[in-house]
Symmetry: D2
Subunit: 299 residues, 4 copies
């Protein structure tokens, strides 16, 4: 394990193997694969270096909003049958979501996500976030494509600033409903809010012609306190680190398996491109107040 | 409808048909059936009058603690093939409990009741109640016999005064666990408490070799309020009037049906005798701190 | 009680007071109020007759899709300070929904309905229904205005035929998501499907800055059956008659109270007009695939 | 880490440090503490060796049914202020149970456990298990003492063979209800069954004068499948390894902390002795069909 970036790794006691020049990693023939979780502006550069030095790549989302650049990477990958490239859309690997995926054996009519954060992040974070859709909804877009197993025909977003008036200044929103139509005619709805009084609210509902599937939030505990005010169930797990902990382990295991057994990665570059396209369609929808087809987004 | 006792009936606007001499009712040949819900000390007298005047009888529990007297009534009833005699063990007729009864098609291994009142009644009520087992547990004994469809071999009660120290004075308890063994070997447990912080707590659980059955409390509403303190579900329905409202209608409908169609009543004099015997066995168990067979209770 | 229409009333044993000429009712000075639940095409005529003969009116929805006619009625009512006119939007009077209404003391950010029918009605019913929005969503539009206590700025609907391909022939849909923006910026989402595998699915969720409110479905029973397949909770109450039974009693009680105490009705002609306007905006949105302001709907 | 017993440790790849003579471990001055999880018949011998060689001890329950021997160990420990001795009553360290413990700030009136295994173990296991109470109920006895923070005055058990008739041959039972009275008058009830149709059923309920506390089972997933048969929630986690995984980590962390910071262990030799005494009182109660005081059990 060679690590680039020293403060975090030192805190874990893996100090000796830290390098401050990433080229040492890319030049090391002993290294078969890299996990890129540096700041977003470095993603494209490191991906290109990894490709040149023939290393498998696991890269954290969002990589880039530049679709032409993403397609350039995608083309390079397609020209190389050997290298694996996986994107960190971790929610696909969550145990509850996996259970839902297994149970979907019928055509989906309706799919509905509530995907709210516990509280507003700092204004610094918000300014650099790329906007609510690029920061939050991108996960939901990817997950919806994955669960429905179909492409999205059109996206219509309605957004508001209801939590923090300062968001007006940076032309962002804090609350949004995204309405989706799939090629099959299936309908989708994503609710996103930057601040939820109940904490990290992550629920999925799927309606098919034969059955419904739902995931409740995973609670901190299953202790219920009851008195004259009612029966109080514990809150959802704090935030994404706690709620989706298993998915981070599972996604890396899946990545390593695809290298070891030379199988396709579960979520690759084309999934990333489609998710970015959907975000851009959503943003255009917000701007023009009409539904937008992601197929019309070419850069 | 002829009614004896005027204050309640006047409040309902059925004043003209009220009589103050019960003999007018028992002497009226137009009347086929009587519903006895006067004070407990009058139950035996009115039952005997109704029997003599050939009227079907619906009588509120508990009738009497005197088993010899109850057996005398039972013998009279058995000698008369025509008259119906139903006891007001209303819980058997509750929709939820009916649903459980329908679903029990396998041998029961374990049955467990929680049957707690919302709060301590007045000291007057308590003094006249006949004690916790005669006032509360009698319902649970009857319901358990009904659901398990078997007789009880032995009863062991453990009681405490944990809510109101004044109960020591009247040699009563406010909290009790009753442990039951049925003839089949099935085991039962009844929890009774005079005061429950969550309100009227009425839950049943049945374990068979193949499945479990449970009833939750029926809540006042199914509105859930969620904030940083958790998800708050509404409390159970206030008390027996609200919780078991349907059962009071259903039990009378069942009584009338047994008259109209000349079928057996659902819960008759022998059920009452067995319930009283179980209460007395429980009280003896509390006194002697050993399990008691209800078959050893003969008066 | 004078009743017009004989088969139903005869079945209830109120045959003597049935008339076959509605003018007898409107001409009877003893009658203070009429409840109009005849077929929709007669609503306007009877409302006008009731207004002329000075009778309070309770009229079942939907009355008419003709906004000019509804405004004509509304103007007549406004000119008459005395007469009460209540519309049968019964869900406002449901106990669970009342509980939610009471608990909304903060600004709403998001409101979300799932309002699915248990199964597709007959093709005759569908042909005469006026379309999914006029038949189903109209209730949800009214309820959303009531709970949010604000007017709707724009409506965007996405619909599909996913259950019954025959709906294509009558230019109707069976599945629809309606996205709403209120004047305040609050966002709403309504999901409607003609057929739900779980039965009559009626859920509401409200998100404010301080708390969430939810209603679960009211189940047929609260018996849970558990085995190696999981814990099975009973289904929702069958359909609107069972689910909203209390609301039908409550709405009439409210109507009578507004007559007796000369107070405003809870839901009147302007609420009806707004609901019809929203349905028409929704239908136009489906046709043009853009969001529509109900204020642009003038006839 | 020195390990005695080689097959398991080899499978974990810690082969070099495995010894086949336990004296090497007890003689190694570098070793401060031992974790004894060998077969029960070796527990006492190893504890004595560890005491002689001045090593802290974590020992899996049940150690021994011989109370005199346990008291001999306890006396040795009390004579030694330095050495820590912790017993593997892991459930005390479960996160859900910890949450309950934190919330109990009032006097307990009633405490109720359901503690059922998913299925009958092999007949070999059953023969060597020491009986249902020594194998299953011992955990519940310890947990109840811990949560109520009081000693048990008397124990009354009722048992049956309802699952496997072969248990009659080894004079064991498969289903048992244990009724408990604490010194304070608080009442307890433990339900144990060797086979539960719902799987590993682990529920706790606590009633105080001011509130109730409950833990539900922790489910495999929180995906709910709904169709015309109802809403199906997933089953509880498979068995103790899955359900109480966190507790095994937490108990060792607690043991190491008590060594590092020289604090009292959370659950020591006296807790073990009391649990064994309660098992023996329970067994005597089964035999004599009367309640038994654990204080009467002296060997």
């Amino acid at each position: 394990l060679l690590v680039f970036n020293d403060s975090w790794s030192k805190s874990l006691g893996i100090g000796e193997k830290v390098v401050t020049d990433s080229n040492i990693i890319f030049g090391d023939k002993e290294i078969d694969a890299v996990i890129i979780c540096s700041s977003t502006n470095t993603h494209v550069e490191y991906i290109e270096k990894a490709l040149s030095s023939n290393k498998h790549i696991f890269c954290e989302k969002p990589v880039s909003q530049d679709i032409e650049k993403l397609e350039y990477i995608s083309n390079k990958l397609q020209a190389n049958n050997f290298l694996k490239f996986q994107i960190g859309f971790n929610r696909r690997f969550d145990n509850n979501i996996q259970r839902i995926k297994e149970k979907i054996v019928d055509n989906i009519c309706l799919i509905k996500f509530i995907s709210n954060d516990p509280k507003l992040p700092s204004s610094e974070y918000l300014s650099a976030s790329g906007g609510l859709l690029f920061d939050m909804t991108i996960h939901d877009f990817d997950l919806m494509r994955y669960l429905v197993n179909d492409e999205i025909l059109s996206v219509f977003c309605t957004g508001s600033v209801l939590i923090d008036p300062n968001l007006h200044e940076i032309q962002d929103i804090d609350t949004c409903i995204t309405q989706i139509k799939f090629d099959s005619g299936a309908l989708g709805s994503i609710i996103n809010c930057r601040q939820s009084p109940v904490g990290y609210d992550q629920r999925i509902e799927v309606l098919t012609r034969k059955y419904n599937l739902r995931t409740e939030n995973i609670r901190e505990s299953y202790v219920i306190t009851e008195d004259q005010c009612g029966s109080v169930f514990d809150n959802p797990k704090n935030f994404f680190i706690e709620r989706y902990r298993d998915s981070y382990v599972n996604e890396l295991k899946s990545f390593f398996d695809s290298i070891i057994y030379d199988t396709n990665v579960s979520v690759g570059c084309l999934d990333l491109i489609e998710a970015v396209r959907l975000v851009k369609a959503g943003n255009m929808s917000l701007e023009k107040n009409i539904p937008i087809s992601p197929r019309s987004i070419i850069k």
